[in-house]
């Protein structure tokens, strides 16, 4: 364990930025200043997140503030996701929000609070990923709801207020379950360990999990899964998700779907790790697998029938979270690694698609797919980005979602769930159909004559371009550092401390180096 200032910096950077933004007046020059602070804030989070990740890749375990904050490989994955996706969607926000301001959808005061809450939201999510204190973890997840509720209801329309209300109520209630689960876990540990101070740390819980009372551990996991599963978007607790995702401004939808769901999943994964150690893998795997499968089975058809682009994407998020849960549910090093990798990959691809939906909104002023026609003709670059985003989320190669879906599938077969995997694969075919429908109906085709030609600005397209590059690069080769992080994180989750239990499907310790060696040949293929 290494004491480090990085966790504190990444935590308080965006918090300070949020406070600063709230102090700046929203008139005239103030808005520019706010945008500047916002940009500095998101850039700082990105840089610090990657610095943390690179320290962790080198084998460090960063801690701060009496171990209340700690970043291990598992946390580092999610911190980097926040950093990268937060930065790119934050950049995208600049041009998107300016557009909304010009169109009169938002007024300067709302723009100001948008940026303020954006940084606040980042702060709460970072807090959730680096908290080692389990109560703090709960506080952070609850705070993400509160921080993002304004962002969801930002437009102040009837529908957005409704969405924000459902979001707040369902999530706070859900997370109240999480609190109960947390309390049970803590009480369990402090009773067994006889030390009230250290029992509150996740690291201590994980280290002494075998001593916990099994009945309470199970009960606590059920509560936690219901609670944080609500936030993660697992069926049947996902009722808030389509509303919130569709009503929020597009960059926020990207952040919700790409990052927030994953933060909640991280907490679920942390308790999953404890429970696996305390009562063995069967119980937690079984309920996670059931919820995951249900999510896929329910979300896939609902995804297909939606007419609203962003609702469609929201259901697709439920489906992919379901797949991550299935990965955890089939368990074993392979399943857990596949789930973690899918979490990363889905974040990137979904952020790309939600930003794309923002472009659609800027061009067509509607999310109704029946009225969005011929994007490729009026805005060619957006069209291409959306096209590739759809193909990526449909799970086709050479995009990253394909890789991790395949890994989950392999893990499932290894664990003996052949038929279940076939069922999931079939339902994912419905997803392919849905995305093809989007491309065929809205990206291609002839635009209505009234739609003005011309793409959205470079400032909006550049972050999406970067996302697409990331989606392709991680699809063609899993970069060494990610491989390393996922491997180490899997060992943390499964509790296998033996060094050979490196978690990739093709399990050997030397893997990252060899990928680096074999990589360049393939790079020529993508970079040409």
């Amino acid at each position: 364990m290494v004491f480090s200032n990085l966790p504190l910096l990444i935590l308080f950077g965006p918090l300070l930025a949020a406070l600063a933004i709230l102090l700046v007046p929203s008139r005239g020059f103030g808005l520019r200043l706010i945008e500047l602070i916002h940009t500095v804030s998101i850039a700082a989070v990105a840089v610090l997140a990657l610095a943390i990740a690179s320290d962790v890749v080198d084998g460090a375990h960063l801690t701060a503030f009496d171990d209340w904050f700690a970043v291990d490989a598992l946390g580092a994955i999610f911190v980097s996701v926040i950093g990268v996706v937060g930065f790119l969607t934050g950049l995208y926000s600049l041009s998107y929000i300016r557009h909304e301001l010009r169109d009169g959808e938002l007024d300067p005061a709302k723009v100001k609070s948008y940026y303020g809450f954006f940084s606040l939201f980042l702060f709460t999510m970072v807090l959730a990923t680096i908290a080692n204190n389990i109560v703090l973890m709960w506080v952070a997840i609850e705070a993400t709801t509160l921080g993002s509720a304004f962002l969801v209801g930002c437009y102040g329309r009837k529908s957005s207020l409704e969405a924000a209300w459902k979001y707040v109520i369902i999530c706070t209630v859900g997370v109240a379950f999480g609190l109960y689960g947390t309390v049970l876990a803590y009480a369990n540990a402090s009773d067994v360990l006889g030390n009230a101070d250290s029992a509150i740390l996740w690291t201590t819980l994980a280290a002494h999990a075998t001593a916990l009372d099994p009945m309470l551990a199970k009960l606590s996991f059920v509560f936690v899964l219901i609670g944080f599963g609500t936030k993660a978007g697992l069926f049947p607790m996902s009722a808030w998700l389509p509303d919130a995702h569709s009503e929020a401004p597009s960059p926020v939808s990207a952040l919700l779907s790409g990052v927030l769901l994953k933060c909640a999943l991280l907490v679920v994964i942390r308790y999953y790790a404890i429970t696996v150690r305390a009562v063995g893998p069967e119980f937690p795997q079984m309920i996670v697998l059931i919820l995951g499968t249900l999510s896929i089975l329910v979300a896939a058809p609902l995804f297909f029938v939606q007419k609203d682009l962003k609702r469609k994407l929201a259901y697709s998020s439920i489906e992919h979270v379901g797949l991550i849960a299935v990965g955890l549910g089939v368990g074993g090093p392979l399943g857990v690694a596949a789930a973690l990798l899918h979490a990363i990959n889905h974040s990137l691809a979904k952020a790309l698609m939600f930003c794309g939906s923002g472009n659609v909104l800027m061009k067509f002023h509607t999310r109704d797919l029946d009225r969005v026609k011929g994007l490729m003709r009026v805005a060619p670059v957006s069209g291409v980005l959306l096209l590739f985003g759809c193909l990526a989320l449909a799970g086709l190669p050479p995009f990253n979602v394909f890789v991790s879906e395949f890994m989950v599938f392999t893990a499932g077969m290894k664990a003996g769930y052949l038929w279940l995997m076939l069922l999931c694969a079939l339902f994912f075919t419905i997803t392919v159909a849905g995305f093809i429908q989007i491309v065929a109906g809205s990206v291609l085709g002839k635009a209505a004559d009234a739609t003005p030609e011309g793409d959205v600005g470079v400032a909006a397209l550049a972050p999406m371009g970067i996302l697409l590059v990331l989606v392709i690069v991680t699809g063609v080769t899993i970069p060494g550092p990610i491989l390393r992080l996922v491997g180490d994180a899997t060992a943390i989750v499964t509790g296998d401390s033996t060094p050979v239990a490196f978690a990739m499907p093709w399990a050997t310790q030397a893997a990252p180096a060899e990928v680096a060696l074999a990589g360049p040949q393939l790079h020529t293929e993508t970079k040409r």
Binding site: W138, S159, E247
Partner: protein, 217 residues
Amino acid sequence: MFDFQLINGLAGLLIVTSLLVILSRGPANSARFYALQSFILVLTFLALAKETGSRELYLWSASAFVTKVILVPAIMYRAFSKLDDPRLGSGETMSPAVSVILAAGVVILCFWVVSGVALPAAEAIKPALAVSLAHFFLGLACIVTQRNILKQVFGYCLMENGSHLTLALLAAKAPELVEVGIATDAIFAVAIMAMLGTRIFLTFHSLDARKLTTLKG
């Protein structure tokens, strides 16, 4: 031993007050009953603190008194007394009698669940523990069955009180900061919900959850 009985008794009172919160007419009334309930919760904490000799719990009682008995009800009272949707009545979708029977059922179920827990610390206070769990679910039931969106906020508060009590019962020596974190979060949650609720009332001119049906599918 006597004090544990006191604790269990106080916990029983909590159930009664939460029924009052759920069934009373108008959000402002509920806010008063909620303050009452929180006061009983603070008393429970004090009793527990005396029994276990936990210094932290005394601190808790103090902070809980400030946040739950004063701040939260005040916020709600201020925000909600201006908003009233007389068409809704108490907003309950079930008759009071059914609600009470249901509550009783929940309590019995919770007793049964708690009886399976084997922690030594939980031995003497099992009834209170069961009550705290039941309290949690009563809050949930309130949210599910209520049409009045403001009353749904109270549901959340009840759930939160339930978990708070469980924490105090099972882990009396938890660090003070934990308590502060939970309490602060609850205040923020209530404040944000109150704000959203107000905006919904101003936009929809109603507090009926069934009117929130634009988004479907």
